[in-house]
Amino acid sequence: MSANTTNILIVGVGGQGTLLASRVLAQAAMDLGHDVKVSEIHGMAQRGGSVVSQVRYGPQVFSPIIKMGEADVIMAFEKLEAARYLSYLRKDGLIVINTESIDPLPVMSGADVYPENLEQKIAAVVPNTVIMDASGIAEECGNIKAANIVMVGRVGKALQMSKDSLAQAIKTLVPSKAIDINLRALDAGWDFMD
């Protein structure tokens, strides 16, 4: 794929706010004058299933989906999902992992086990790994659900996006009563020390 396209893969569990995160990043990228495409998943998978949304921006973007091995950044809202989509990360790409773990059905029912120390295992193979308790940070900002925006802050900074553009996108995309919490979450993610 074109070298000057930036590819962000956002993975998590249905209900964790992957859609909002992708829309905020996309809006901010658009404000910087890029061509942008976003692929979202609606419907069945949202019911607690594994979900992925994808943001691509650059001078001209064709495909809305990212090829395996070509994501510049993976934002994982959940550890198991980080592991599941690891094959999408490009060489020297950045993976940001929220330390939250949510047991999938096969684990809850005892048919399978949740692999231990996933984030360390990933960090051992991917040099550019950031592990953060985004859910905990979001809780401090006022709502655990803002973990997605904490992650957006960390990734937006890594990609040298404009923090003002991200804040602006949050103001247009988030219901008015949740704006303050989400802006705090953006700051907390932006200032996060690995």
């Binding site: 794929m1 074109s2 569990v13 829309r23 996309a26 809006q27 658009m30 061509d35 942008v36 495409k37 976003v38 692929s39 979202e40 998943i41 609606h42 419907g43 069945m44 998978a45 949202q46 019911r47 607690g48 299933g49 594994s50 973007v61 064709f62 495909s63 809305p64 989906i65 090829k67 395996m68 091995g69 070509e70 198991l80 999902e81 592991a83 599941r84 690891l86 094959s87 999408y88 990360l89 060489k91 790409g93 949510i102 047991d103 999938p104 059905l105 096969p106 809850m108 029912s109 048919a111 399978d112 086990v113 949740y114 692999p115 996933l118 295992k121 990933i122 193979v125 991917v126 655990i144």
Partner: protein, 580 residues
Amino acid sequence: MKKLMIGNQAIARGAYEAGVTVAAAYPGTPSTEIVDGFSKFEGVYAEWSPNEKVALEVGFGASLGGARTLVTMKHVGVNVAADPLYTMSYTGVTGGVVLVSADDPGMHSSQNEQDNRGYGKFAKLLVIEPSDSQEALDFTREAFDLSEEFDSPVMLRVTTRLCHSQSLVEEGVKQDVPLKEYKKNEAKYVMLPGFARLRHIEVEKRMDRLRDYVETSPLNRVEWGDRSIGIITSGIPYQYIKEVLPEASVLKLATVNPLPEKLIRDFAAKVEKLYVIEELEPVIEEQLKAWGLDVTGKDLLPIIGEYSPELLEQVLVGRTAEPPYTLEGSIPGRPPLLCPGCPHRAVFHILNKKKLTVAGDIGCYTLGALKPLGAMDSTLCMGASIGTAMGMEKARGIEGSRKTVAVIGDSTFIHSGITPLIDVVYNQGNTTVIILDNSTTAMTGHQDHPGTGVTIQKAEAPKLDLEAMVKAIGIRRVTAVDPINIKELEKVIMEELAFEGPSVIIAVRPCALIDSNKYPPLVVEKDKCKACKACIKIGCTGMYWVEEEKLAYINPDLCIGCGLCVEICKFDAVVERAVM
């Protein structure tokens, strides 16, 4: 200024700009956001119809009445609407009609993978396929003009990846299209055989005119590049080709039915090797082969599933993506599941416990088929559960029917469950039907329906009384229960199964995601828990098991306090947090 829009929003905008004033749809992923979005424009009428057939008939009437009309549905919805569709091709239109068919290659959220371009061929319609949100807007607008010019409904065929991908869109100016005058014209609109025979001649004439039109349609485009490879493609696969083979010559088709023969032959003659890249069925490829063209397509690429850039790269370039980083060991799957507090869980818990045969239907509750609930034996299409249970009884006799129930959601029952229930009454079946009334169309994102008493525009509407309607059909035994009260639910199910004759049980409790009643989260009292795991076996994501402690726990962030585990626990170990 450009805006980011998903394909569906762009279609809604395109229809609005084209002066559409009436839109009708039944929800269905990936089409739902189109009419939902359209309903928010000023000065338009939009409705959730009870099913797709009704939606298209409302569309027919609105067109006859002179308005430009948008009708949308998912691919299988077109099966339901196929009857009016085939004959609307004969009557043609007064106000332009665009039918959006949203196909789902890869079955992200569907029960089959049918390719609705086939409808275009058989119903003799112009079918147009966009490749991004801008085209979705522009082509929708254009489709209304074409519909009126060719006196025919036009099908806009889109796929999940277009519907749910955002890209930049430049909005246009809204056209004001005056309502067309109504003129009675029975020869055109009353399809008696004598009139229909004449209309069929018009249909064939129209196809000739359409075949001419597509040759020079500005919607199709040739992008010349390296002539050693020529690709004919349309829709989303076009975007993948531009990534994977940026140098190739491409004939990008928007008009996928009828196909422009001269344009295609001309393109084919100027390239060395010709490929057709299309998801699902070889619709374009077969036509090219019928014309005697030498073309490669499905011999290399699958008929099954959604395409991706890496798949096309592997097949066309011979390069296999090697992931730079991998982990050892397997990763547990994460299938979708019923939400914590979902009222459907209680019903499937009882059906599982009683080891009943369950004729299922389509909705969130189809997830009741998955372990640990595993209480569903069949799911075919919307509304099929009741006829299925009736047919099983007719095959296996009344003993079988004493162990069989049909399970159907409220929206699905209104969509297409009423006529099979009439069959049960009329042909004297013993079927026991459980209507799962969660006051919404949950699966597709909580749309209202005739049973919720609210319209698409959130206005109040007469609320369909399911109980009264079922009685009016002739079902004498109708019982409403709150499914969380599982003892009562079990008792009612067993009574109705034993009863000789048809009966309906309505399990009434709002979907946990829209329930305005707020219950406090629950907690397990450690010293009372006997580690029997009964609560774990209901598969609620709000509960988890800690093996080291041999204890069940409740996640307070997820638990919505529905109380099903309270009912399940024989040791009264689950209590309200406040009690602790």
